[in-house]
């Protein structure tokens, strides 16, 4: 028999039931609200993403049409909506760069780099910002980080693009050695990439490696016979190697492949000038060699004097040697050995004068003169 005195009071039981029911209701409510909130948040995110994407697309279109200011507004809106998207922030920085707001672009990029320091595109844009700010050393570093950074799906193409930007940068602001170092990985570029090989050929010339350049152009010609650019490139490589006659022949082929190209014609004319000026050319008679040496010395003296060259003993000697009264008689009377010796002396004097020319002369030195003097100095 149950002791009725110990039976629980009904109110107390009810309280316990209400207590338990309330706790259960709270837990159920938490579950329902969590589902509801997650649902709302998902819709919110989808709408926000779509809105941000449309702002980004609008900004991109405006940027391509040259309206950087309006584009930046759209990119800013996209970034404000979706801050996690690196592309939006990157586009904003690019827009700012185009607007000339380099400091703000740099700040935006630095924030991005804090999040994605290894991102190739971000580092590449940062390099552009550094160039705009004239900080070439930092630009070079960011270019390198871009080349070795992380890229998206088409990483090889993007990475090569970044490397070419670095190469272009180095061609203007770097040393030939740095440029060549970046070019060497491309020596084994795909054979079917004719345009790439053409470009590499020209860059190898800039990097002081005309033999590699010639190889590149030769490969182009193997695939595309009568390619005027390749012949012109071969001509430039030959020029750099001091093979003026070969250069003349290559430029002639280029002119045949693309008649009327003024640049090619100018280079061909230059080759003719150089060939006429070069005292070391094969098959030139002693007297002619002497005449050419004197003419070369005269041009060198004239060029060096024109850019404020120093009044050295070499310059005085050169003036004496190229004096008009002396020149014809000396050339007529001189025996072959003496002519050769005189020509050698004049060429030595030419090299001495050229080497001692002021730095300002480098910019004004005429191409033909430079090519010939470089050739005889080899």
């Amino acid at each position: 028999m149950v002791d009725t005195a110990l039976e629980p009071a009904p109110v107390r039981v009810a309280n316990a039931s209400i207590f338990l029911a309330t706790l259960v209701a709270i837990v159920v409510l938490i579950g329902v609200l969590l589902s509801f909130d997650l649902f709302l948040a998902r819709i919110d995110r989808q709408e926000s993403s779509a809105h941000a994407a449309s702002e980004y697309a609008a900004g991109g279109a405006l940027l391509h049409s040259g309206h950087a200011s309006d584009a930046v507004d759209h990119f800013s809106a996209a970034v404000a909506i979706d801050r996690s998207n690196v592309n939006y922030a990157l586009a904003l920085a690019e827009g700012m760069l185009q607007q000339g707001r380099t400091t703000e672009a740099e700040a935006t990029l630095r924030t991005l780099l804090d999040r994605a320091g290894n991102d190739g595109a971000v580092n590449l844009t940062m390099a552009h910002a550094m160039i705009r700010e004239g900080r070439m050393g930092e630009a070079k570093a960011y270019f390198h980080r871009a080349v070795f950074g992380r890229w998206g799906a088409d990483s090889v193409s993007d990475r090569n693009q970044a490397r070419f930007e670095l190469i272009d940068f180095l061609a203007q602001h770097g040393t030939q050695r740095e440029l060549l170092a970046e070019l060497l990985p491309f020596e084994d570029a795909p054979a079917d990439s004719v345009a790439l090989r053409r470009r590499l050929g020209n860059l190898f010339i800039s990097a002081g490696s005309p033999a590699r350049a010639a190889d590149m152009f030769r490969e182009v010609l193997r695939r595309v016979p009568n390619d005027a650019d390749a012949y012109a490139g071969m001509g430039e490589a030959a020029f750099a190697l001091g093979n003026f006659r070969t250069a003349r022949a290559d430029f002639a082929e280029a002119a045949r492949a693309r008649p009327g190209d003024t640049h090619i014609e100018a280079r061909m004319a230059l080759a003719d000038t150089v060939l006429a000026l070069d005292p070391t050319a094969r098959g030139v008679a002693s007297n002619d060699r002497l005449t050419r040496s004197r003419a070369l010395l005269a041009r060198t003296l004239s060029a060096v004097t024109a850019c404020g060259g120093p009044a050295t003993a070499a310059a005085d000697s050169a003036r004496v040697l190229v004096a008009p009264s002396l020149a014809p008689a000396a050339s007529l009377r001189a025996p072959r050995d003496n002519s050769d010796a005189a020509a050698e002396a004049m060429m030595s004097l030419t090299i001495e004068l050229w080497s001692a020319r002021p730095a300002a002369c480098a910019a004004t030195a005429r191409d033909a003169l430079r090519l010939v003097v470089s050739r005889i100095a080899q």
Partner: protein, 602 residues
């Protein structure tokens, strides 16, 4: 048989149910476990409700102001109609859902025994969603606090908790609400203690922290790990910049006072209008913000996107000055006219704009030695908050949490303290207290809280009289204390204090013929059912609150308590008497109350 056992033996007599009921019953009995469980549940529930509130408000706003398709007429129509609709709802169905929510939460806590009705919670949620979504220039944090506190109040009462327990749940829920609304779990804890409770040492600290953390976790689960504002890594460029931050503090303080006074005066003016117009008064706020929004859309709504732009230095000088002025007026009119929404968020907005304005001028004048305008906007946010809401500690931590930027803390502290000081000097009453007073509610003021904190036992401690020796007989003791007014005497032995004996007990023992009984025996008999030594020796320490002495006098029946050393409870430092306690509280007519006898000198 316990209730749990009884339940288990009842109709639903299954083992799992019995175990569950035992568990529940255990939870009910153990206050610490209940507090832990409720902190977690309330934190999660309030966090989810506040997140829903934020998302729904945002969705409503995006429908009323569709991105890219916004036309100017909407900017006047939406807030005006929104204010009209919510004005009627507030008047007709939810009168307690008007305004911010923080004074109302405090009123519920200090006046209404922690009671906030379900109707108020629903009304606050609905009306604030509509008014904030329609572009009314108020904030969501205050309403979130009231909604959260209301949920806690309903749960507490439904669970059958005592009034004191329900009251304790309110700040717990308030911190959860603020943590979710502002994504600032630490500042939420501080705000809850500093503003809602008014006591940084409240015993519910653990529950407040737990609920805040839970709510914050819920927020991150649903909305991800995104700070409310995105700020560049600003820093102090030059030590001399602190002077400019000090100037910002002064301007922030003056701006805060201007805002608070304008709001209070406008509220007073609206209160003077005929009672029948209460339902349509919010339209004035809606129309005001609508007209402002027609020309400057950035004034509409909470405006955190504009704060973000100011923090990034994107807004020009004339824009930030204009926005600061328009927001001050719009928020004051919206709030004073009775719209539902808080001033927490607008304070941040106003501060950011004022800061950005100072920053633009400073950076223009001293570009080499000053940070960008965004850094000043960041500090300005905290400055205005400290000046308007008057919680300087919360504002410093809040800015840190909102921006996750540590480097600007020192300038922020300088600026905040100046703004706080100026605001305190020029506008004596903090805004929430002033608002409550306008509604006829007299909440505990900061002065009262400060006074309570200042009143310690040491304030009323007097030198102790010469203790009676524990070996004295009742007769001898009566001879010594007989002529003194009724009270209690310290009793000691060779090891020090052993207790307090009431003169009334000595007199009664004499009457009962127990003349030879020693005082020790008398004390032992009085404390026979007390096992704890501390209980046997009722005492206080000099650094304890004076209120504790009063409570202990009530519990022990002694009108005089010994003040003892914390290092040695038997070392008597003095005594505190009821009369002296009351005198310390400013109660003057205490001549009839017993005071301890003066110690015998010489």
């Amino acid at each position: 048989m316990s209730e749990a056992e009884a339940l288990a033996a009842g109709t639903r007599n299954t083992p799992w149910y019995a175990r569950l009921v035992t568990l529940v019953e255990d939870l009910r009995r153990r206050e610490d476990r209940l507090a832990l469980a409720l902190s977690l549940l309330i934190g999660a529930l309030v966090g989810l409700v506040v997140v829903a509130f934020i998302l729904l408000t945002g969705r409503l706003a995006s429908h009323l102001y569709p991105p890219g398709g916004e036309s100017a007429w909407r900017r006047i129509a939406a807030p005006t109609l929104g204010a009209l609709a919510t004005g009627y709802l507030l008047y007709r169905f939810f009168p307690d859902a008007r305004g911010s929510g923080i004074p109302q939460t405090r009123a519920a806590m200090f006046i209404d025994d922690g009671r906030i009705s379900l109707r108020t919670v629903l009304g606050k949620f609905l009306c604030c969603s509509v008014s904030l979504g329609s572009g009314i220039a108020l904030g969501r944090e205050g309403p979130s606090v009231q909604i959260g506190a209301g949920i806690a109040s309903i749960i507490g009462r439904r669970l059958g908790l005592s009034t004191a327990q329900v009251k304790w749940l309110l700040p717990v829920a308030a911190s959860a609400a603020l943590a979710a609304a502002f994504n600032t779990p630490i500042a939420a804890v501080l705000f809850s203690l500093e503003e809602i409770m008014g006591d940084m040492h409240a015993p519910i600290l653990g529950s407040v922290v737990l609920s805040s953390t839970t709510s914050w976790m819920v927020l991150h689960l649903v909305l991800g790990d995104e700070p409310l504002f995105h700020v560049a890594a600003y820093r102090l460029v030059d030590p001399s910049e602190l002077l400019i931050y000090a100037v910002l503090g002064i301007i922030g303080g003056l701006g805060s006072v201007a805002f608070v006074r304008l709001l209070l005066e406008l509220r007073k003016a609206f209160a003077r209008l005929p009672a029948w117009s209460v339902w349509c008064q919010p339209v004035a706020g809606g129309l005001c913000v609508g007209v402002f929004g027609y020309y400057a859309p950035a004034v509409l709504g909470v405006g955190y996107d504009q704060v973000d732009r100011a923090l990034s230095g994107d807004l020009l000088l004339h824009a930030v000055v204009l926005l600061a002025i328009l927001k001050i007026v719009a928020t004051a009119v919206c709030y004073a006219s009775g719209n539902a929404g808080g001033i927490f968020g607008p304070s941040m907005f106003i501060g950011a704009m004022m800061g950005a304005a100072v920053g633009h001028v400073a950076h223009g004048l001293f570009p080499a030695t000053t940070a960008d305008a965004g850094a000043y906007a960041l500090v300005g946010m905290g400055t205005a908050f400290a000046g308007i809401v008057r919680t300087p500690l919360t504002s410093v931590i809040m800015i840190f949490e909102v921006t996750r930027n540590y480097t600007i803390i020192v300038p922020l502290m300088v600026s905040n303290l100046l703004a706080f000081y100026i605001s305190q000097k020029l506008q004596r009453e903090p805004i929430y207290e002033a608002l409550a007073k306008q509604d006829g509610l007299h909440l505990p003021t900061a002065e009262f809280r400060a006074l309570s904190r200042q009143l310690r036992v040491s304030t009323a401690t007097k030198p102790a009289p010469d203790p009676l020796d524990a070996s004295l007989s009742v007769e001898e003791a009566h001879r010594r204390v007989g002529s003194t007014p009724p009270g209690s005497w310290p009793v000691s032995d060779d090891r020090g204090l052993v207790g307090m004996v009431r003169t009334a007990d000595i007199a009664m023992a004499m009457t009962n013929g127990r003349n030879t009984t020693t005082l020790r025996e008398l004390l032992d008999a009085a404390a026979a059912d007390l096992s704890d030594d501390d209980d046997r020796l009722a005492h206080v320490h000099s650094d304890q609150p004076l209120g504790l002495a009063l409570a202990r006098m009530g519990a022990t029946g002694h009108t005089v308590l010994p003040v003892v050393s914390r290092a040695n409870a038997r070392k008597l430092l003095g005594v505190v008497a009821l009369a002296d306690v009351l005198t310390a509280y400013g109660v003057e007519r205490v001549a009839d109350l017993p005071r301890p006898p003066e110690p015998a000198h010489g």
